[in-house]
């Protein structure tokens, strides 16, 4: 076989073999057609740190602000604004000392000196029943177990991890089962959850008021579970103890 393109010109009406450019296009087409397929395969089977290709926008991105979005009109870049200092939202006047704070400040005889006294017992806004304590257990398991542990002895996973990493700054969490914590007023426990104590940070921003009281109720149940006199155990199961 001689060069087809050369032969084609001399052979008049006959083409001894297909034109080179036709064959070239067909072969290239067959090869190149695998390129999109391999890109698709890559997109399907690997991860990518680039967002998806978005050819048809279809109002997917609208000029409005979604929660926690960025708005560069404001100096801090937040679309969600903080409440203005010194203002109180409607229905958010927290007047009741017991329910909202767990302590009361009373002016002592000396002018300008205040005394803090924690409230004993649960506030009247909550009813302690099984559901309430179960709710407290659930919330305790979410927010408290990382440090205090599910049993309240202070052996949570975060504590164990801090020990493992030999963190010199770490202070072991307090056990719930000491006389000091048992003797604390409910209001004191509530205030500790809200604002923290010593090395414990405050959880007031993460846990709503009512749930904090539920946790207080559950801590009381937890403490009782580890510190119950034998007389509290029903007589018929008492022999099975120890």
């Amino acid at each position: 076989m001689s060069d087809p393109s050369h032969d084609n010109k001399t052979s008049g009406g006959t083409l001894k073999s297909p034109l080179f450019w036709i064959v070239f296009i067909l072969v290239m087409g067959a090869v190149v057609s695998w390129l999109p397929l391999s890109i698709i395969a890559k997109r399907r089977f690997t991860t990518s740190d680039k967002p998806r290709i978005h050819i048809f926008q279809d109002m997917d991105q609208q000029p409005k602000y979604r929660p926690q979005a960025v708005n560069n009109l404001f100096a801090d870049g937040r679309a969600m604004r903080q409440p203005v200092d010194g203002t109180v939202a409607f229905g958010d006047v927290q007047e009741d000392d017991h329910y909202y704070r767990g302590y009361a400040m009373t002016e002592s005889e000396q002018q300008g000196k205040y005394q803090t006294s924690y409230f004993k017992g649960m506030p009247k806004q909550v009813t302690v029943d099984e559901n309430f304590i179960r709710r407290g257990q659930q919330r305790y398991d979410i927010y408290c177990t990382p440090c205090h542990g599910a049993d309240g002895f202070g052996q949570g996973t975060v504590h164990l991890r801090a020990l493992e990493l030999q963190q010199s700054t770490w202070v072991p969490p307090t056990s719930m089962h000491t006389d000091i914590v048992r003797d604390r007023e409910e209001g004191h426990l509530f205030n500790t959850i809200t604002h923290g104590i010593r090395n414990m940070p405050g959880y007031g921003k993460q846990i709503p008021v009512k749930d904090r009281w539920a946790i207080v109720a559950y801590i009381r149940a937890l403490q009782l579970s580890q510190n119950a006199p034998v007389s509290d155990v029903p007589a018929d199961v008492r022999p099975t103890l120890r």
């Binding site: 008049g12 001894k16 991860t47 740190d49 398991d141």
Partner: protein
């Protein structure tokens, strides 16, 4: 057909290879008929486009360490998920609850410390981004027993959060038509390893669907359920 030379200059004679033209054309036709639907169907599918998005975050936060190894509940950080449509990204303070004392000098959490000092939020990159005309409500789902894992996958095993579900409209509707395929007891929602008793998801799903009085498929697939 006989091979002819220059003796037949005046007449056009089809060369031997022309016999293959028709089959070749038919082959190309079949090829194109397979290729184009495959290209469009695969190339524009939500699974190709959306799944596998794993953007790099300003802080190399590992869910595998925090939610997996340490076993911290999803709601410790994503506090609003049961009460609001949006599952809030935690403020820097939540990180500092522990990192004030644990690994306070780590270079990896330098941006967190900086944010805590300046009050400027960390700009986390949103991974699961629905179109703006979809009004997905987290609280409506998690309080009725649709687990985090149904949409977000095993986040407790992810070092970098990666989108694992297509999150297309048809994918949403699959579940809205058959909610029993995803329902579980509401207190097991953040337990990503939960398995239905005896492996029978449909049994417990149907029970819960009945008990919770989940809307009819007609309501669940109505436009205004998700769009406004």
């Amino acid at each position: 057909m006989q091979q002819n030379d220059s003796s037949n200059e005046s007449r056009f004679i089809f060369p031997a290879w022309a016999n293959y033209l028709l089959p070749a054309l038919a082959l190309m036709g079949i090829g194109a008929a397979t290729y184009l639907p495959a290209f469009v169907g695969l190339g524009f599918s939500a699974k190709t486009l959306n799944v596998g998005y794993a953007p790099e975050q300003p802080v190399p936060f590992s869910h595998a360490v925090h939610a997996g190894n340490l076993g911290i509940d999803c709601r410790y950080c994503h506090t609003s998920v049961e009460d609001a449509a949006f599952a809030a990204i935690p403020p820097t303070q939540t990180c500092m609850n522990c990192h004030e004392k644990v690994l306070p000098d780590s270079a990896k959490i330098q941006p967190v410390r900086e944010s805590a000092l300046t009050g400027k939020p960390i700009e986390w990159v949103k991974v699961h981004n629905l179109p703006d005309y979809v009004y997905f409500n987290h609280s409506a789902h998690v309080t009725r027993g649709v687990s985090c894992v149904s949409c977000h996958g095993r986040v407790d095993q992810m070092d970098t959060v990666t989108q694992v579900q297509p999150m297309s409209m048809s994918w949403c509707l699959d579940c809205h038509r058959k909610p029993e395929t995803a329902l579980r007891p509401a207190d097991k929602v953040t337990d990503l390893t939960w398995q239905p008793p005896n492996g029978d998801q449909l049994k417990i799903g149907l029970e819960l669907k009945e008990k919770l009085n989940i809307h009819s498929p007609a309501y669940m697939t109505s436009c205004s359920t998700c769009h406004r």
